[in-house]
Symmetry: D2
């Protein structure tokens, strides 16, 4: 028998930028017997979570829930709205935008990739310019990642919407919010997004295994014409069955138990409080990074992520970055904390601190303490005082007791 969770003493600090720590309330909610997915008790559950999840996406439109990982929801958004060979405009914000583009290629689409430097969000002006050129409207969709999990950079989705409108272009707007939903303010309806993609294991505080497509009327209309083959991902049968709180195939019942509890928790705290909490922790984290004399990967303060902070390792005398992976290993072995690795072209010289989901001030302080001690043990040049800076930041902003704020 595999011995899981036989960590050294005390709680593991899971400070990757997702899966985030699953709170006890959600774990316990999921730990109930599976029920008949065609019975009345399930129906009440189905109706509740379908209503709740709309509020989280800030939409009146249907949200399709898949029993799959977030990658599946990327695929679903594309196969429901597009046809083989369709031209789509994607923006290279980082590793996950790149993976999404590869996925589009595998599905026989023709993605055009606006190059980025992985340190900025999507440039709405570039998108507008490109769409303005496309007078024949060969571009069928614009795909943007809201919070690029590999870089800790967000993109301004409202600005992208305006860019499309300014160009009077009919392309659909598809947005990945896998790592931002439930953590960073996101407005599917107000921002005129056509398909919003998301997943369960970040701001929703669930284990991985559920993913989402929020679907505008325009996207629904497009799906009637779209020719890419699809069955498991097809919106039509799911949305039809959802009318009564059911699914056309066996749903992931126990994860839906968890989703119900997760929505309760988000609404109890209040979505705006949730968003503010993430920003506050991100600010304190950046102040720690700055105090250490290290560099935040994201170069545009307007685009700092509330969910994670990617940190650049300092260079040695030879201009080589100290190893981020050696640092992470020291921290895992000595302090029982997992940090996010550098992905894709950031591999080896960037590490990522997740500060999302079911999280609070003291857990952040523990997290930053682990980084500071790790920098010391791994002999990475830095100034002490990051934790101290974070304490100042947090204490300063802790004017209102949590109980009142919530």
């Amino acid at each position: 028998m595999l011995k899981l969770n036989s960590h050294p003493s005390g709680r593991h600090f899971l400070q990757i930028p997702g899966p985030s720590t699953v709170p006890d309330r959600i774990l316990r909610a999921m730990d109930y017997p599976t029920i008949d997915h065609r019975g009345p008790e399930f129906q009440a559950l189905g109706k509740k979570v379908l209503a709740d999840i709309k509020k989280v996406f800030q939409t009146q439109s249907p949200v399709v829930i898949y029993p799959s990982s977030g990658t599946g929801a990327w695929e679903a958004a594309l196969v429901n709205t597009l046809s083989p060979g369709d031209h789509v405009l994607m923006y290279e914000t980082g590793h996950f935008a790149t993976l999404w583009k590869k996925l589009a290629e595998r599905l026989s689409l023709k993605p055009e990739f606006i190059q980025g430097d992985w340190r900025h969000g999507a440039d709405a002006a570039q998108i507008e310019a490109r769409l303005a050129e496309d007078t024949g409207h060969s571009i069928k969709a614009v795909c943007v990642v809201h919070n690029e999990t590999s870089t800790g950079v967000t993109s301004n989705i409202a600005a992208v919407r305006r860019a499309i409108d300014n160009a009077r272009h009919p392309a659909l707007l598809l947005v990945d919010t896998i790592s931002s939903l439930g953590s960073i303010d996101y407005r599917h309806d107000e921002w005129g997004v056509d398909v919003t993609i998301s997943g369960s294991q970040k701001g929703l505080m669930l284990p991985p295994g559920l993913s989402f497509n929020a679907v505008s009327e325009k996207a629904l209309a497009a799906s009637k014409q779209a020719k890419l083959p699809r069955a498991f991902w097809a919106w039509d049968e799911i949305i039809a069955a959802n009318q009564n709180g059911f699914w056309p195939y066996t749903p992931a019942t126990n994860l839906l138990y968890g989703l119900s509890e997760a929505c309760d928790m988000l609404f109890e705290e209040g979505l705006s409080n949730v968003f503010a909490r993430h920003q506050r922790h991100a600010l304190a984290t950046r102040e720690a990074v700055q105090a250490w004399g290290l560099e935040v990967l994201c170069q545009n303060p307007a685009e700092y992520s509330g969910v994670l902070t990617a940190v650049v390792m300092p260079k040695d005398a030879n201009g080589q970055h100290h190893s981020a992976d050696a640092l992470r290993k020291v921290i895992l072995n000595h302090f029982n904390m997992s940090l996010g690795q550098g992905l894709g072209k950031l591999s080896g010289w960037v590490f990522r601190i997740g500060h999302l989901g079911d999280f609070n001030d003291l857990t952040l302080c523990g997290t930053l303490s682990g980084v500071e001690m790790g920098l010391d043990l791994a002999k990475v040049p830095h100034q002490r005082g990051g934790v101290l800076a974070a304490l100042s930041s947090l204490a300063h902003s802790a004017k209102v007791p949590l109980a009142q704020a919530a």
Copy 2:
């Protein structure tokens, strides 16, 4: 807050043919914090479950695990091995075979459906005859459901294999074991199956949310040539990442915890004991049905399912079947038990008793008692004594104490 699991007093009897009852050991195993899916602890988990699951499929070949429902694994088997417009031979064993065929059509395949009466399994002779005619080898795959969940009829997969071999036909053999794996003896390698499809929520005793493709070498070779677009379902990247115990995208970690425990439980009891237990319960169930004077849907004793028994409602004076749904409702309301409804063309006149997964003699007795009392309350003509017949059957076969048998 939704109040789930506020059943009337006592345990709900979930006697649908899946999802089956999730045992406490598995629920507790899943109720652990999610871990870093790129860390060493996860790696040990990944390697263990990938090795364990092969034993359950009785194969040396790779088994691909998806974070999705069983329907997804149907799709995966097709898109990895076939090309648009490919001709596939499918066998109409019942509702699920029909759904699989529709799914194939949505994916732009050309399924040919050998008609069945929903009361027998796949007829290997018909398959052989059809393949023999197909001298041009336009048929690329033969698709059969091992245990048709809608009818309680199994198909002889070894015979289908021989049929293909006798016809010297190169078609792939794709088999759905969603409701049989871990309950009815199934041998991926010995029976020469190319892709075996399965799901987590039946014999594996997990909640829904994982699905499987066991993949032969021939299927792997076919996947190199197959032209259906695929990304999420693509075997290649998953099998490559699995070499090290990881997945290319975020796996459903907590369900994998459960899978590890489920395999431990199956191996502790012993697969052959598990299979024998299911047959023994199926026999006792059929003896009860017979004693009630009712009819088992399956008409070929060699094809009786060990997993479920579908029962035909008797007819009234006008030749109308008494309502199966009225009966199920009476039983749910009075006795807190869920039974399976009649699906597709069986709707209204057939109900299904699940006797699979984490199950035992006394739970079966309770189940059959609920049916017998329900028949009484719903005024369905029947003879009493079904439970009595089952008691005789079970007591007769209970020669060996469970502890020794296991």
Copy 3:
């Protein structure tokens, strides 16, 4: 590592007359992190359970909750109200009444035991006669077991109260409801009981570990004069601290989580429905016993227990009872069910069927099926048809769907 809960497949049937099966809702409620027992969150919990538990005892008086087993609550009732050498009148209803008497002796009291035959409840007339004789009022307390767990016989507490009143005797009335509270109608105030003793692991559906004293004003007054040394059990400090929802020493926090959930469950179903459910199951059980041709230990129908049924093993040709323990062992080994053994002088020739707590019709049917098959396998002479009789009884009384009844 000990491998617990590695039963054979399926749920164990725990049909001893307590501990009863702990329902999932209670197990999950207890599975939360322990909190600060001096903080505001605990205080809310403390106040809630102290209010809830009064309703279960049907009293306005304080109920003292101990972090101990029921035996401790026996001791608490005595040491708080009596002085060394005090004369108490106890009634020999069975094994537990006998144990309580021994406990009184160990505490230096002088119990007088009215002999019983273990097949009847306490005879109020005998008690009245004895008290009437005691003109000097040397008897300080009358101690009766409400539901004798060893015999399945209840005693009429209201009648005992009237007996004391008729005799115009000032003795306190102390009643053990360890196995009846929350299962059989019990009214601390209406029946004028001075100290009611109970425990957590029967009708309250919790694991063992909490026990109770409901305390009348007269008992409280007596405690000011009582001279038996006491500290842990002393009511005064506990009742004082309880005013604010706290305890003078560390309470069993996680069991209190469970108690809160248990009370919610009892009130959701409705106490009167809970009581009726137990009677209905007891009736069906007795009809099964009768159909087997076996004898119920309890000889007075007015005193049948709703919680358990004790069954007398038939005699062989030599007038020897067949072995109850051999029967129980066969049932445990073959059918994964625990039944209660014969205790004290009932050892070997009586077994006990628990039908209490979180329980329902189909679980009872499974239980009785296990007994019927066990009688067969153990070659105990009996007539078949017990289960059939129970089915008739249950179906007959199942006029109202559970959902409406609840």
Copy 4:
């Protein structure tokens, strides 16, 4: 329904000196169905925990396990070994020693209290002197608290043993290890202790509800003569029943599940590693306190506790201590952390930081961060830099990766 565990976002920091945080492994172990406490599965459990717990006490003698809180084990130790009016020598190390003395008085014993200043441990020389005076051996027992939870001061038990031996006095040695067992090295046999008292909710990482008496042969012999009335607490019947792994009354089964898992965890880490971990965290905590310019209550470095650190609030210009309770309230409200209050005569001017049980470096860093920010917000005069000092201390001693150390 009470809404428990509806804390603000993130994990509560339960940094009182017990109950300590219950780790997931133990919560899950306890979350299993209760089993028959007279059956073979229970027997295996009983034997295992009775053997395991001896290793934790470092004894070959029997350890009696009670389903009660620690206060009950205090009572048990006294009532099993002493007679009414017996003279016992107790040492005033703090609040809990004082409560134990009051409990002895309630039990009709005659405790003599050697006065202490609540800032030092028991002075063996004083004990020796007092015993030497007691030439008539009227003193029947010496009672000492190993780790005084109210002060964070330990007493040298080996020295007390030598004191008794030097005085050639036959008094029994009774030691309270409620808050030290499983955290601080403690040797029942080697130190010649007669009764060691302990509880479940500190170093054993369980919820409250179990307590212990480890019993020497001399204590067992004394119990044969002891005249205090006892029943629930009586060792004789329990030790007799324990021979077969059972208890004379219903044990707290689910807490025993947890105890089994707790012992597994302690042995996996290794007791000596557990003890070293506590000392290391205590050292880092004291370095933080010192850096803040605050005072540790314990005045003798040889007696610093590894389990908790009691901190003295600084005085204002008027010589009044700043309020410890105001500080704790600020920290609870702003940072979701519970600290221990000052008890008894320490009330209001001392607070206590627990660093025991299932604990690690980063949780300690979070804890100390909460204190440092709280001092700031509550305007308590202090120097910053406590957390920084702790980081230095922890990083310095973190030479060996945890995985290797364990």
